[in-house]
Symmetry: C2
Subunit: 437 residues, 2 copies
């Protein structure tokens, strides 16, 4: 039995989950792999708080650099978070030729290219299964399981906080602000919640999935991002009535000569499998040119699920260290292309949900339909709802596919009509025709 020494940087939620998992199942892991993972050192600024884990003496220290440099530490696990200190510590480990396992999506989305280059230069690796989809082994599936495939599309529900909020809004008919406040009180959402609810966390993960799919370090600027802040319960109820749910999606599609990338709230069919991904669960739908549709589902966050992914990376890094495999396959997949072309947001073809508030007068609907027609937008269905108390008529339109630029033009014109009584609401609709067969 060979041993491998682990140094953990950051003993917060995930750090404690990793250590707990390694202590609990260390023998099992060693039996399976022939390698015993031994936690040699843990660094955290807080060496006092009880994490409910009994540790050997002298294992906990405030000196992260000493943990990295420790001769007994073969693999460095970076769970500090953020992009400042975490970057310094990651670089320190890589410069010593030690592989780094991390769950830090922000760090990799912002500084991935230079860190991968440094790892490669020092003939070692960065392993980041836990950075996307929490406990779901989705990067491993993509990188190894689908290695023979050109990736045609990826749809991800990648933020558990947003999915939890959306699920409760739908089930309980509550407004966004109430559910968010409750989620914060329960510890399911952070304060401030911006990274989650504005889609930035999802965009970090989308960028990592796209980078791996297309072999280039995709910058955050390539991913137009919006979130679910202020989403109205009216739209959730309308979607429900029409057979849809609203999900915050990462959308990645391969077109001839370009890649489409965005993070946005979208209507998805309740009857499709993606409509069954509720509460804080995550899922990634990935279509390859050879394998066709695949899907990966599980807990996208949490102490132990994220710990499970970190442990899988530790054992992969351990095998690579022992085989002297050097800079592993996951990294070379990022460097396959020099550059990618991104589809301009204006050129994206999509279906949309529109909610309009029109004056209750003859010809109002006709004016709207004329504007849509002038912008080459075909209407799939229209629902005119009962009168509002104030005399305005709510109208819901589901469109066929059209260009984003045409949607923007049409909405601008509709907004300017005298019969338009409130700012139009628009959301993407993805019908998952293939996936829901």
């Amino acid at each position: 039995m060979r041993e491998i020494g682990i140094g953990v940087l950051g003993f917060g939620t995930v750090g404690a989950g990793v250590v707990e998992g390694l202590f609990k199942n260390g023998d099992l892991i060693a039996g399976r792999s022939g390698i015993f993972p031994v936690v040699k050192k843990i660094a955290d600024l807080d060496v006092q708080s009880d994490r409910g884990i009994s540790l050997p003496a002298d294992i906990l220290t405030t000196d992260a650099a000493a943990v990295i440099a420790d001769e007994e530490v073969d693999i460095v696990v970076e769970l500090v978070g953020g992009t400042a200190i975490a970057k310094d510590l990651t670089e320190l480990a890589l410069r010593l030729g030690k592989p780094v396992v991390t769950a830090n999506k922000a760090l990799l989305a912002d500084h991935g290219a230079e860190l991968y280059a440094l790892a490669d230069e020092r003939d070692t690796g960065i392993y980041y299964e836990a950075a996307v989809g929490g406990g779901i082994p989705v990067l491993r599936a993509q990188r190894e399981g689908l290695i023979g495939n050109q990736i045609e599309s990826i749809f991800g529900i990648l933020n558990g906080t947003c999915n939890y909020i959306l699920t409760r809004m739908e089930r309980e008919g509550l407004p966004f602000d109430d559910v968010l406040a409750d989620a914060q009180a329960l510890g399911y959402a952070e304060t401030p919640p911006d990274l989650d609810i504005d889609g930035i966390d999802t965009a970090h993960k989308a960028v990592l999935l796209a980078s791996m799919a297309y072999g280039a370090a995709v910058p955050m600027e390539a991913c137009p991002t919006s979130g679910i802040r202020g989403l109205s319960k009216v739209d959730i109820a309308n979607a429900d009535e029409l057979g849809y749910r609203i999900k915050l999606l990462a959308i990645i599609k391969r077109h001839a000569g370009s890649v489409e990338l965005s993070v946005e709230a979208a209507l998805v069919p309740k009857a499709a499998m993606i409509g069954s991904v509720n509460d804080s669960f995550n899922a990634v739908f990935m279509k390859g040119d050879i394998v066709d549709d695949t899907m990966y589902y599980g807990r996208g966050a949490g102490r132990l699920p994220t710990g499970s992914a970190v442990i899988s990376d530790i054992m992969e890094a351990a095998a690579d260290v022992l085989h002297e495999a050097g800079s592993p396959i996951g990294i070379t997949m990022m460097r396959e292309h020099a550059s990618l072309t991104y589809l301009s947001a204006d050129e994206v073809q999509k279906r949309c949900y529109l909610r309009l508030t029109l004056a209750d007068e003859p010809g109002a609907m006709a004016q709207v339909m004329n504007v849509l027609g002038e912008h080459s937008i075909n209407v799939a269905s229209v629902i005119q709802k009962e009168l509002h108390p104030n005399g305005a008529v709510p109208v819901v339109v589901l469109t066929e596919q059209a260009r984003e630029a045409d949607f923007c033009g049409a909405i601008e014109t509709i907004s300017s009509l005298a019969i338009c009584k409130a700012e139009p609401i628009r959301m993407r609709l993805e019908d998952f025709e293939d996936e829901s067969r």
Copy 2:
């Protein structure tokens, strides 16, 4: 760029898919992995038929042994099928120290232990991602992604033919025999269909999943197996009315000191994610003690999807060959324990669906309820349907959890009652409370 030589044995559906995939995406795979997979030789008894792939001259031969022995062949891909010649050829390759990639679940379920031992003795590996779940990288997820987890349970929909038949029976209200005949005419089911519809193919796959989960070569005898042959459309309609669908499930559960294993048709909730796995799709739900619920979904069969999984194994074997990694982790996971204890079928706790046909007379239902009570079976719900033309009353009962031995005893007693007018129908019910949250 390093090259790796591939020898393919069997140029049927999957063999052609593998070769087509490697030809189509060889450059992409090489860009990602740094290894170019080159098909050096293909063996098949039929060297005449057009598979729609243009091959280099002299690549196709009838001499499988010569392909294995060929110096340029580093990796042998066994796609011959069956357990006779396939076993001989696999042994021949392993004895030469060449890794074998295979999609042959029957071969591994029946002869896995001796083949793994031989591979280990010759310091090489057997790779079989394509043997379970077709294109879904589920074994890789289990073996690597969940390496830190004790596997608590696995539920698999693993046979596309059965799932296709069940889906069509439900959607079109057709009887089993008609859908089977149609599936055979369309090439979705084989003639004879026994391996699929009697659950044997699913059991082969269940045994491989359980073997990997618990580190022992699980024998087929440990898996009580039944299929969907003769399933009545009445039961499908009843299930539908109650909010369930019938699926052929592989069920693996870990109990204190034993493993529960079976293949059987079962009712699953339509609203749970497993209820959305329709048509010929496969899915595996796997719960780990650390990661909690995960799920993997995709095409369980077909030329290209299965080819995708074979290609992923080829590239893993290639990396192992080039790193001289020897006998890889997947195999050691099979040898972790010397033996397993299997839960006796009589002791399995489950919920059941019962369909009884009772005489239309006072007290008939009371007699049934008494029998169930005497066998410690609690009733969750009862539906008494309209009278049949012949005066018999159809009654549907959903039970709470009870022991299989008690169900057997109760059914035997009920069958012997004068008021019991037809053989009772019984099926397992899995409510997936955890997975459907």
